[in-house]
């Protein structure tokens, strides 16, 4: 069956450390993968998109990697801050090369950064 899994439901780290979140998928061949941030009671907010031919993508303190052999994406937040505390969702488009763009989401990892 097709699955997208974020292995940790919750991750607690100290301010200033690097947070690493994992997303694994099964029986999909996505052309790209996306990461979103979701705060309680709010809609997801887009952070980064990485394509299948890209190994790594960076944006400020965020870094995403994409390994299509392992079927895994890693999401890193360096020099984490309490304001980074949120739930982080990975998402992929199940229709490779399709134009619809509808997304399948993982359940998310709730990150808590302690001062």
């Amino acid at each position: 069956s097709q699955k997208i899994e974020q292995n940790s439901e919750a991750l607690n780290i100290q301010e200033g450390k690097t947070a690493t979140l994992t997303c694994n998928y099964t029986n999909y061949s996505p052309a790209y993968l996306q990461w979103y941030r979701q705060d309680p009671g709010r809609g997801p907010v887009f952070l980064l998109l990485i394509r299948e031919n890209e190994k790594e993508k960076r944006k400020e303190r965020l870094k995403v990697t994409f390994d299509t052999t392992l079927k895994q994406s890693l999401f890193h937040i360096t020099a984490s801050q309490p304001a980074d505390s949120a739930t982080y969702l990975c998402a992929l488009d199940p229709n490779y090369g399709g134009s619809q763009g509808n997304l399948i989401f993982g359940k998310g990892t709730k990150l808590s950064v302690k001062p």
Binding site: Q34, Q38, G43, V45, R51, Q100, L103, I104, F105
Partner: protein
């Protein structure tokens, strides 16, 4: 930054009643979506809409659900006869053109079915 708006923010209804959830997507965007999120669960795709018709729908989007873009700005989700299990956050989203364009999500409508 352009934003998606949704109304109402919270809707309470009795089982069996019809509800309509409203969304105003970003003005020059072409693709529109509804997702839902049951409390504590993952965000789930319901339906995508392009060029005034449904382009894809999930198994969740059965005959009780319908979508409309009645004018140039609004995008609505109707649930004809609500069930208890329809209680969830409903998010509207849109994107400009290509599938790799950013999807912008609205703040959501919390639907509570009693």
């Amino acid at each position: 930054e352009p934003e998606v708006t949704q109304t109402p923010s919270h809707q309470v209804t009795q089982m069996g009643q019809e509800v309509i959830l409203h969304c105003v997507p970003i003005s020059n965007h072409l693709y529109f979506y509804w997702y839902r999120q049951i409390l504590g669960q993952k965000v789930e795709f319901l339906v995508s809409f392009y060029n005034n018709e449904i382009s894809e729908k999930s198994e969740i989007f059965d005959d009780q659900f319908s979508v409309e873009r009645p004018d140039g700005s609004n995008f609505t989700l109707k649930i004809r006869s609500t069930k208890l299990e329809d209680s969830a956050m409903y998010f509207c989203a849109c994107r400009e053109r290509t599938s790799t364009d950013t999807q912008y999500f609205g703040p959501g409508t919390r639907l509570t079915v009693l």
